[in-house]
Symmetry: C2
Subunit: 385 residues, 2 copies
Amino acid sequence: MGQLTGGDPSLLRRINSAVVLRALRAAGSPTLTDLTRVTGLSRPTVEGVVEGLIGTGLVVEAGAEEGARRQGRPARRYRFRAEAGHLLGIEIGSHRVAVLLSGLDGRVIGAGTKDVAETASADERLERVRAAVADLLRRAGVPRDSLRAVGVGSPGIVEADGTVRLGTALPGWTGLPLGERLRRSFRCPVQVENDANAAAVAEHWKGAAQDTDDMVFVMAGLSPGAGSLIGGRLHRGYGGAAGEIGALHLLGRDVTPEKLLSTTGEPLHPLDEQAVAEVFTMARRGDERAVAAVERFIQRLVHDVAALVLAMDPELVVVGGWAAGLDGVLDPLRRELERYCLRPPRVAQSLLGEAAVATGALRLALDHVEEELFAVEKTVTTRRR
Amino acid sequence: MGQLTGGDPSLLRRINSAVVLRALRAAGSPTLTDLTRVTGLSRPTVEGVVEGLIGTGLVVEAGAEEGARRQGRPARRYRFRAEAGHLLGIEIGSHRVAVLLSGLDGRVIGAGTKDVAETASADERLERVRAAVADLLRRAGVPRDSLRAVGVGSPGIVEADGTVRLGTALPGWTGLPLGERLRRSFRCPVQVENDANAAAVAEHWKGAAQDTDDMVFVMAGLSPGAGSLIGGRLHRGYGGAAGEIGALHLLGRDVTPEKLLSTTGEPLHPLDEQAVAEVFTMARRGDERAVAAVERFIQRLVHDVAALVLAMDPELVVVGGWAAGLDGVLDPLRRELERYCLRPPRVAQSLLGEAAVATGALRLALDHVEEELFAVEKTVTTRRR
């Protein structure tokens, strides 16, 4: 049981501070009277809290020109300083690194990408991350010490501390203490998350899944991965490995997708997206072997996604990754799910496309900061069993 | 935000009452002094609350003989009256109906079963439920109006209101308003849950999964189902269909388990457990066709469970249902999961066996009553986003 009796003045101050800050962020530039009304706190309390927040730099008095001047001396107005700190969302992929920059409100104010070779070592890849971040910060005129949190999305099973337990898609990734390595560069909290998990968070925040809290994001590619939200919260699994449906093709000794999509008998390289795209192009032109290869591939994708849907029962499946944009993936998937699932979910294409992973990473950074700034409930609530 | 300022005297009374009741149930027969110490409430508050609880019949003064008599006038002691109300946990299966009876503390004080024909209609099956309950109550000397909550576990996808959305295992089950039908008999809250979900809850409560909050229960049979706990809470899925992995065999037009297990070319009847057991017996005796059939069946079960494990990433898989007890199921399952899952879970056999579903149903009834009696947090907490 949380203690409800007794009083902890510093806790009360923190609660009041978070309540006022939240109200400030939600409103445009409220007066003290507005804040008193919205929060239900007394005017002296609100005044004291606002003074304190101005001291931390999180709040500033809005220019008097914004206020009404009719009465000679207008009421003072205040606003949340989103520019008091900055956040980064970073995707570390096999072909490129992408970075998004925002203020404390999560609004994107800058973006940058750098290409990276599939075969790059972990050190080389991290160097590209640092270069992309440095470029972006310089262009945006944001000093590095203004960063308050960094989110990172990357392929692989990621431990809670940011270590990559298993990551076969990127050379040198398995065992890499990715969080620790990046924390050395940033000196602020770094959250590392599986790329499909980050994309799920992104689609829920700004993409195709804004209207549901129970969704699965499928990163459709040769080895599909997935991320799930249950009740609006990321389901990472006990060991961070939830949604690793790509391993399903190993079961029953089925052939790999690389073989399924081959038109020559020789498997494609798992990361050779161009070769895969060519097979799809050939199929559109009517090449029989390509048509058969694509059908095999789609059948496999449908099977993997259906297994996930049967286990999780989401309201919505969002399909992203490079394969989502190809013709002939979404409709067959929808049709087959309707045929085989007891309660078929809606199927939608990713709205964020290539930006999904970095956007989700940014949201994770924002979550971290919001928890710090606004985490009132965390302190005063107790959890049922 | 929950209102933290201002005071609601009736809310405060409820909170204090729940706190005292919980302390009373946890302790043996505490004195007012004990309760004051444990709850941190003032003595007059505790006295008032205990008076109120005695009024409701939930608390009684323990016999003075239990107290110390050394001081002439011993301190009064109080105890929670588990016998102030009763709970039922009911399994409605294809071959039998099982009922457990407990007091308000969830301790089982009676049990009964009745056989029922596979082919029984929904009405006949419900009649068997009523007969089993009536028998049990009579034998235990518990009046029907002492029932405070009833939990029910049954095959099928069950809606939140207790309607069976889809239930092919029992005749007439699909579309049956099972909760509504049973509420007519009981005049107390009735919680209906999918049987595998109920079994998952049971293994977590009293069985093989007491040490983890992230587990999957697999009801191993011809058409396997599963129930999952995530963070100690049942994951029902958006439409209550989570874990329906039995449908996986439809994908890719694989043959059904009934065909896999056949040694004659003719599929077995899906509910003919005896025919299935015979195939296993023949396999143990070395019959080649039976050995091959069992291998096919186990391979399928492993595939279905692996799909679930890859999607959910549990810490523990508990295998129950009739197939769990057969030789040659658990070890191959364990071995194959270790081979194919990125982070293989522990695999354990159900400890509750045939009692799992009814035990889980009883726990659901207990959850309901505890929420009513002890749900303090529910009222005073707020949820993040």
